[in-house]
């Protein structure tokens, strides 16, 4: 079957790209100026101590040997030990990953749905006031600078109004109290999630709205819509059951395509809100020169992007009979 061959070809490509990124990262990190040991300012660490540590970290071996170890480790699931935390990189990533998935997927789903729903309405009332306002609003929201929006959210809703916590994912007092039930903890996380979610939502739903709107306008011109009208179906039915599902298609695929953009935004959001996720960890790792952790986090993000692009392409092919591979 055509699709199967296509998927297979793409998987090979993804593997190659992955390998290239892996190697490039390795080379870049090894050849970079400076090493993590230089950052330890403590006057009690003598140069001999530092040399000893570097030798132990294996940073003094020839490059090609390091590369072999690097590849071997990688494919056996050993992503190294974080220079900063001193524990396995994998354990840190596994610890942070669920937090990012929670925040990220919720925000994408919410903004996609809202974008589709509101875009539909905007297109329906094209030219009227509601359409102008919606489009303008979406445009403005989309061009807001994300970290700034995050700061404003914290300032207004966390500080002035005080409804929401200022940062973090949980309230320690609730979690270390053994009498706190599951629902209380669940609500606590939800409570902390509101502001970061709102920030991500505002930034993303605008583009989905605009896309849905123009997509709907195009779809409504299609022949089969005319047919439906001729058949005597009500406008509401036409809009919701015939046009919208087809118009939503480009939006869904654009979610995948703009994933890279969303991931960058996710890292920024996590940093400002101190949400303990992969994005924030990547930023920390970079500023601490914690190469193993930075590397692994980046690879994870790259993999997610590559795989999701593949999924989007397949989905598109599946859903839109016009596309042939």
């Amino acid at each position: 079957m055509e699709i199967r061959k296509f998927v297979f070809k793409r998987l090979i490509e993804i593997f190659v790209i992955f390998f290239v990124i892996l190697t490039v990262l390795f080379l870049l990190f090894r050849l970079a100026p400076g090493d993590p040991v230089t950052r330890m300012v403590d006057p009690t660490m003598t140069p001999e101590d530092a040399a000893h540590l570097i030798a132990q970290l294996g940073l003094d071996q020839p490059i090609w040997l390091q590369y072999i170890y690097y590849l071997k480790n990688f494919f056996t699931g050993n992503f190294g030990i974080s220079f900063h935390y001193g524990v396995a990189v994998l354990s840190i990533i596994l610890n942070r990953l669920p937090n990012t998935i929670l925040l990220f997927s919720t925000s994408i789903v919410l903004s996609a749905f809202a974008g589709i729903f509101l875009g539909k309405i905007a297109s329906w009332h094209k030219g009227k006031k509601i359409d102008t306002w919606m489009t303008l609003g979406a445009l403005i929201c989309h061009t807001l600078f994300l970290p700034w929006l995050a700061l404003i959210m914290i300032w207004i809703f966390g500080f002035h109004v005080g409804w929401f916590p200022l940062n973090g994912m949980i309230t320690p007092e609730i979690w270390l109290d053994s009498s706190s039930g599951f629902w209380l903890k669940f609500l606590d996380i939800a409570h902390h999630m509101v502001l970061p979610l709102a920030t991500l939502f505002l930034i993303h739903f605008g583009s989905y709205l605009l896309l849905m709107r123009s997509s709907m306008l195009d779809t409504l011109k299609e022949d089969y819509i005319l047919t439906a009208r001729a058949k005597g179906l009500t406008e509401k039915v036409i809009r919701n059951h015939h046009a919208a599902p087809n118009a939503a298609l480009p939006v869904v695929t654009s979610v995948g395509i703009s994933l890279a953009f969303s991931l960058s935004g996710g890292a920024l959001t996590e940093t400002v809100f101190s949400w303990p996720g992969i994005g924030r960890e990547l930023v920390f790792a970079v500023s601490n020169s914690d190469y193993p952790l930075a590397q692994a986090s980046f690879l994870l993000i790259a993999t997610v992007v590559l795989i999701s692009n593949l999924v989007v392409d397949v989905l598109y092919a599946y859903l839109d009979p016009r596309i042939k591979y």
Binding site: P33, G34, V37, T38, R39, M40, V41, D42, P43, T44, M45, T46, P47, D49, A50, A51, H52, L53, Q56, L57, G58, I81, H84, Y85, G86, V87, N95, R96, F159, G162, W163, F164, P165, L166, N167, G168, M169, I170, T171, P172, E173, I174, W175, L176, L187, D188, A190, H191, V194, S274, P276, S287, S289
Partner: protein, 575 residues
């Protein structure tokens, strides 16, 4: 369906808002705010301040500094160490003490600590233990240290080093020995619940958010009179909460979510905090030095006259009053004035009390005498001060543009700002100075690793009480890649005094040597010490009292052992 969804979301939102109203607290937690998450609970890996702080509540040293006198007093040890000059050894007796699992602390644990550090060459600890030839344990509570040669830092650094238990670490060490990289295996071993004999033990570390400690009922100091104080701890639970930014932490302090913030507070917050009824502000001196350093290996800063002239031109009073907003002290020696015993006040005080014109004139005379010339001298024929231009070295060359490297403004606004001011002062004098902020990691690599720099503004925020760093910073032998002699200072007279001072066990004699060393350094100024910032800390008055003030702040071990819940409070708190 849509209506149900609406209803559900409305209830959800109401519940969320209710949460923000806070929950009643029954028990009395001491809540401390942390600026950054601690790195690790493995003592051999802990290099960051927060990990070290938490571990200092767990693992204990033999001797500790008294908060008022700063003298070493017996802590885990019992009585002063006895010196035996013929064998160059010290005998130390131990107090009866238990580890947190109830087992006894014995002299074997001390010997074991030394053995591990020496065998694995653990960084940061090795230099304090490597000169110990052997350790004898005649009985369970007596330890005898045999030194290869007399070492002054034995008393101040080795005896203040944390002691770990054989029980906790011997298996780990054994496993690490078999690995290809034993040190890495040792320092990367995951420690969930470190076993110490200190006032607290770890209950839970929820990564990214908080660390929860509880009182250790086996703490040897519980209820004991040590150093004239009856120790607790008088709190059952410690909660260290991690805040990403100082802003949020200060807010939490005002709201009562934390009782104390374990990180200096910037002067900008003080006015606001002073207005709060429930907040008390502590001002402590720090054992720190912030200075301008030079590269003596090449022109132009290989000339001591130039360095002295710059020392005069730097208006330290301006920096302290304007940049530090008066929360700091002027420094004239590498040893901070707060280190009362070792600080030598009889050093040249460049530019003290001078106004701008006097500075320029004095610096002008220094350089004129040394053979410098100008296109436009900063002091004209009639003795008036004018903007100088185009300074020339004694050999006739025009002085090349030089860079003063500083950390970025967000990392440390004080240093960045000082750099900018110094640039302006030097430019007005005719020197082609440029102050350049640089990312901290890159900065260190540049100056420590590659020695490629002209001048820089750096600081050591946590200097040890023992002034051995003075030797480290300026010893000729330490002028190597990643060595501590960053400036490239080479002076045989200084080297001789420095070596003598490491083996001088008599405190008074050593003090004389250290004083001489300070005088030499300040005469030659390879570093110009500028300021010692005050440490500003804020606590809630209404919840806990009896914080102990000492050098380097109130977040010290004594405070944690002595802090008591305020009896007026009835135990209600918000988040």
């Amino acid at each position: 369906m849509k209506r149900k969804l609406l209803l559900f979301s409305q209830i959800f939102i109401i519940l969320l808002l209710l949460l923000s109203c806070g929950k009643q607290q029954d028990h009395r937690f001491l809540k401390i705010g942390l600026h950054e998450e601690p790195k690790t609970l493995n003592i051999w890996l802990a290099s960051d301040a927060n990990s070290k702080k938490i571990l200092s509540l767990i693992y204990q040293p033999l001797y500790l500094r008294d908060p008022e006198t700063l003298n070493l007093i017996p802590w885990l040890a019992d009585g002063e160490p006895k010196y035996h000059p013929d064998t160059i050894s010290y005998t130390v007796r131990l107090k009866p003490a238990k580890w947190s699992d109830g087992s006894d602390v014995t002299s074997k644990d001390v010997a074991f600590t030394a053995a591990i550090i020496k065998e694995f060459r653990v960084p940061r600890y090795y230099s304090s233990w490597k000169f110990i030839k052997k350790i004898e344990t005649p009985d369970n509570h007596t330890v005898r240290f045999y030194l290869e040669k007399p070492k002054a830092i034995f008393l101040t650094r080795t005896l203040t080093s944390s002691i770990v238990s054989t029980k906790e670490w011997s298996d780990i060490a054994q496993a690490a020995r078999t690995k290809q990289k034993p040190l890495i295996a040792l320092i990367n071993h995951k420690i969930e619940k470190p076993m110490g004999c200190g006032p607290f033990v770890i209950k839970k570390w929820h990564r990214g958010t908080y660390v929860h400690l509880q009182k250790n009922r086996y703490f040897f100091g519980l209820g004991q009179d040590i150093g004239g104080r009856i120790l607790g701890p008088y709190v059952n639970d410690l909660l260290f909460k991690v805040y990403g930014t100082a802003d949020v932490a200060v807010l939490a302090l005002k709201k009562g979510s934390i009782d104390m913030f374990l990180w200096g507070i910037q002067p900008g917050y003080i006015d606001d905090l002073k207005r709060q009824k429930n907040i008390r502000i502590f001002y402590s001196k720090k054992s720190a030095v912030y200075f301008m350093g030079f590269n003596l290996r090449s022109l132009p800063f290989s000339d001591v006259s130039l360095r002295r002239a710059i020392a005069v031109l730097i208006d330290k009073e301006f920096i302290i009053s304007r940049i530090l907003q008066n929360y700091g002290t002027r420094m004239d020696s590498i040893v901070p004035p707060g280190n009362k015993y070792w600080f030598c006040s009889d050093v040249p005080r460049y530019g003290e009390g001078m106004n701008r014109n006097d500075r320029i004139k004095t610096a002008y005379h220094i350089l004129q005498k040394a053979g410098y010339t100008w296109e436009t001298p900063p002091v004209d024929g009639s003795g008036r001060v004018v903007p100088g231009k185009g300074i020339r070295l004694p050999n006739g060359q025009l002085m090349e543009k030089f860079t003063i490297l500083t950390p970025p403004a967000d990392y440390d606004p004080l240093r960045a700002m000082s750099g900018m001011m110094i640039q302006e002062w030097l430019r007005a004098f005719g020197m082609p100075a440029l102050s350049r902020p640089m990312a901290f990691g890159a900065l260190l690599t540049q100056i420590k690793g590659r020695h490629e720099f002209d001048a820089f503004i750096l600081g050591y925020g946590r200097l040890s009480m023992d002034p051995d760093y003075l030797r480290n910073f300026f010893l000729s032998a330490n002028d190597k890649e990643r060595g501590w002699n960053i400036s490239g200072y080479k002076n045989p007279e200084f080297d001789h005094l420095a070596e003598k001072s490491t083996s001088e066990m008599n405190r008074e004699l050593r003090k004389k040597l250290i004083f001489k060393m300070q005088k030499i350094i300040m005469r030659d100024v390879p570093y110009i010490p500028i300021y010692d910032p005050a440490l500003i800390e804020a606590v809630r008055k209404d919840t806990f009292t009896d914080w102990v003030e000492t050098l380097d702040g109130i977040g010290n071990l004594w405070s944690f052992c002595l802090v008591k819940p305020n009896p007026d409070k009835t135990g209600q708190k918000n988040f």
